[in-house]
Amino acid sequence: MTPFEQIAFAVLILSSALCLYRVGRGPTAPDRTVAIDILGTLVVGFCCLMAWRTGRDYYITIAIAWALISFVGTLALAKYLEGRSYDA
């Protein structure tokens, strides 16, 4: 691992730790939902760094799938917060 990769992974892990702090602390449900959404975007960043480090392109495929599924999950949670039925 080059120093650049070490620093990059350290920064992303620190960012994820801050997100997890907000997921645990709350204080309301939307706080946790926003933090989980941000965590999903950070995981996309992790996938990119793995693609950078290994030079394999399937990590980017994982990142695309993760971004889409995280989006759908967050929208479902937002609908739940709004208090509406899911098919409206």
Binding site: L12, L18, T28, D37, I38, G55
Partner: protein, 131 residues
């Protein structure tokens, strides 16, 4: 040379990620946190993807570069929409603004939406507000 530029772009993106997450911890209410974190982390992740794409353009196979750009486009489209939906849900579920907030443009429209929902009678508002 191309790799050097890609590393600089990724470094700036990582800094944006970190500052966005600091904002997520430090700011006072849901709406502030959502806007700080969403904007910074979206841009930061897009810049990381751009860096990966830039290095992959120099490599023999360009598939990785195209995939990375596609993923950047997805993140750029979906992340603000998700944050908008969550903030709307937060407002309609009754989360209060920070006491230092100066403007609340959504309050009238939110009232209309609540009345529409009660006339539809499809949802029990009391239950979601106490939850």
């Amino acid at each position: 040379m191309l790799e050097q530029i890609a590393m600089w772009i990724m470094g700036v993106g990582l800094a944006f990620d970190l500052f966005g997450c600091i904002g997520l911890v430090r700011l006072p209410d849901v709406y502030n946190r959502a806007q700080a974190a969403t904007k910074c982390v979206t841009l930061g992740t897009c810049m990381i993807l751009l860096g990966v794409a830039l290095r992959a353009f120099g490599a023999p196979d360009g598939a990785m570069a195209v995939k990375a750009l596609l993923c950047a486009a997805f993140v750029l489209l979906t992340s603000p929409v998700a944050a908008h939906a969550v903030c709307r849900g937060a407002y309609l579920s009754g989360v209060k603004l920070w006491e230092g907030s100066v403007e609340d443009s959504f309050s009238e429209r939110a009232e209309e939406i609540r009345q529409e929902q009660t006339t539809e009678g499809s949802v029990d508002r009391e239950e979601t507000e106490t939850a």
